[in-house]
Each structure stands twice: as C-alpha cells, then as structure tokens.
C-alpha cells in the first residue's frame, strides 16, 4: 500500500519497525525531560531598555509578575510555559510506560491525538523570540538578545514533537506478545 513513513530519512527510505518506534520515542521523551530543566532556569533572552539590562528566565519572569501584583497574569504564564510542556512530556511518558498493556487504551489514543494536535503550538515562544529580536535592535535604547536557555527550550520542544510523531496510535492496540512485522 502507498503509505510512506514520516520518519523516512532516518532509515534511508525503509519504514521504522514498531520496536524501533517505541524505543526512539522513549529516548526522545527522556531527552525532553533533561532539556526541560535548563530551558526553565537558564535565561531565555535579555531585554535592555535605556541601559537597564534584564535577563529573563521563564521562572524568573513568573516570579517577577507575581511580585508586582499581577498574580493572574503570572498564573497564565506559569501554566503556558512551565506546566504545559511538563504535562505534555508526562502524558507521553505515561503512554509509553503503558505500552504493551491493555489498560486505558482508548484514553491513551485520545490523549496521543490531542498531543499531536497541540504539539507544534509550542513553537509560539520561539517565534516570539524571533519577532522580539527583530524589532529590538535599537542599540542602547532598546535591545533584545536571545540567550542559551532558548536553545534548550527549542531542543525540548522538538524532542517532544518528534516523540509524539514517531509513536503511532496502532502501537497502543498491539497485543502484548511482540508480533514480528
């Protein structure tokens, strides 16, 4: 049947075996968890306004918003940039832990579909950084420069998207006896 695999590049045109899909996905989720830590605690960008330098970490930004009395905004930023990435990684890890068992199959498939849908929306933070650095080139008056945390953020995002993409829904429904395919 005419149905080329998404991950065609890695295997030189051959579709990945089911076992390899599971293992690659597991490795990528683990990598995602590791990248998550520097992504949240290293500065993502530096904003300099009229000489005042302000390195921004994700957690630091949340804390600052909370201190200035903007608790609801702080809560939204905290949810969107700290909780949601962790939640997505955790859901994917849960799906992989239950790989091969027959509990919660329907729920696992629904959640996997949901992750596929929302996965690439995390790119919004990278685009935001791109737009901000583009307009923030006014020398001493106002400048925005990316920092290393952004790299880890992008790495976390990509490993999460790829992990979700490589793991296919039919793997959820396979019987626990490994079938050669």
């Amino acid at each position: 049947m005419f149905r080329p695999s998404v991950s065609f590049a890695a295997t030189g045109g051959k579709p990945l075996s089911d076992r390899l899909r599971f293992e690659l996905s597991r490795a990528l989720v683990m990598a995602g968890f590791i990248f998550y830590i520097p992504a949240n605690f290293l500065p993502v960008m530096t904003i300099t306004i009229t000489g005042e330098v302000e390195p921004l970490t994700v957690m630091g930004g949340v804390w600052e918003l909370y201190e200035t009395g903007l608790a609801p905004v702080a809560a939204i930023v905290f949810l969107a940039s700290v909780v949601v990435p962790l939640l997505k990684l955790s859901i994917m890890a849960w799906i992989l832990v239950l790989h091969g068992s027959d509990i919660h199959r329907q729920r696992r498939m629904d959640l996997h579909g949901f992750l596929l849908k929302i996965g690439t929306w995390a790119m919004i933070d990278i685009f935001l950084l791109s737009v901000l650095t583009a307009v923030g080139q006014l020398g001493i008056l106002a400048s925005v420069t990316p920092e290393r945390g952004a790299l880890f953020y992008a790495a976390m995002l990509i490993s999460n998207v790829l992990a979700t993409d490589i793991y296919k829904p039919w793997l959820i429904w396979q019987e626990s006896e490994p079938q050669t395919s």
Binding site: G113, F127, V135
Partner: protein, 213 residues
Amino acid sequence: MDSTIGQADSAPEIWLSCSHCRAECLDRDLAPGQFLRCSRCGNELKNSSGEKHSILLAWAFSTTALILMVLANTSPILKFEVVGNFQENLIITGILSLWEQGFPELAALVFFSAIAAPTLYLLCVCYVSATFSLGLRWRGRHLLFSAARILESWNLMPVFAIACVVSVVKLRTLGNVTWEPGAIWVALLSIFTLLTIQCFDRRFLLLQLEENP
C-alpha cells in the same frame, strides 16, 4: 464450514484496515454524502461526497495563499519605536538577527517553520490539486503528495500570527508599537492556510493515486 456466519447469501465481506489505529472495519456501500468511520478511533476510512469540489477549492485556496505568502514576506509587520528611533521587521529580519546573535540553530528552525515549510506545503498542494482538477497525469504527484502530508504539521503560519500578537502585548510596556500592512497579509495567509488544510482531502487523493498511478 461457515457455520458461524449467518448471512451466507450476502456479498463477500471486505475488511478495511484503519490507517490510524489499524483496526479492522467492515466495508459497506455508502449513499452519497455518507462517511465510513473507524469504529475504534473515528478516523474517516472512506467517503462518497463531492471530493472534486473540495479539490478545486484546495487549488484556489493554495494559490491565494501563495500570493499572500509573497506579500507577507515583503512588507513589514510591526514597527517598534523608542524616543524617535524605530525599527520595522519582516519575517526574515527575525531570522537574520537570530543568526547574527550567534544562534544559527534557532534561525534555521524559524526559517524552516515560518518560511520554508509553509511555502513548500502550499506549492505541493497547489501542484497536486491542480493536476487532479485538470485531469493531468504529470510526474511527481506521489512524491509531492507525501511531502504535503509530512509538511502539513510543520506549517506554522497561524502560530506565527499569534506570536506577533503576543509580541505586541509584550512590547507595549517598552515603547510604541504599531501594526504595519504586513500584519494583514500574515493574518490572511494564516486563514487561507487553514482553509487549504481543510479542503485538501487526503483520503480521496490517496484512493485516486492507488487507482491510477
């Protein structure tokens, strides 16, 4: 020895394998406008509606989106102003400044998902839907069709549009921000991209490609 099957007089049963979850589903004839969905995951297995119409629409929308893509990439989107000095941005300026600040990986990522993937996706859809609408059997349809399937999830124009809105909210506290004409093109481009994805009936095209390669 078909003692377990009751309806011996009916047509032979055909089982379709769901492409999404690989469940086996019983095939049956459909009235016009009906869908056959997988009983396990709800994936559409086959339909018998006006696909030709939808493919024509996909052609129209992708062509429109390609024109908008040119406009969105050549006119400035935002203007940021601090005490008289101002800076405008195109999609590509963000990528160039990321590159200059020593982050080529991020620049490549943004270039791929905000310029390369959307453009290639629209080109593939445009080519495939045009050849199908006109009944042409040009070469490369299989390849471009698979390319469109892969690129679809990396077509991030709508996400980019939202990122522009968020960046305006952020920059408001730092200086004067004004929308430039490019913002309209980016907004229209994301709408037409979503419409193209909606109308590009992959199920129908897949069946067509199998029937007459």
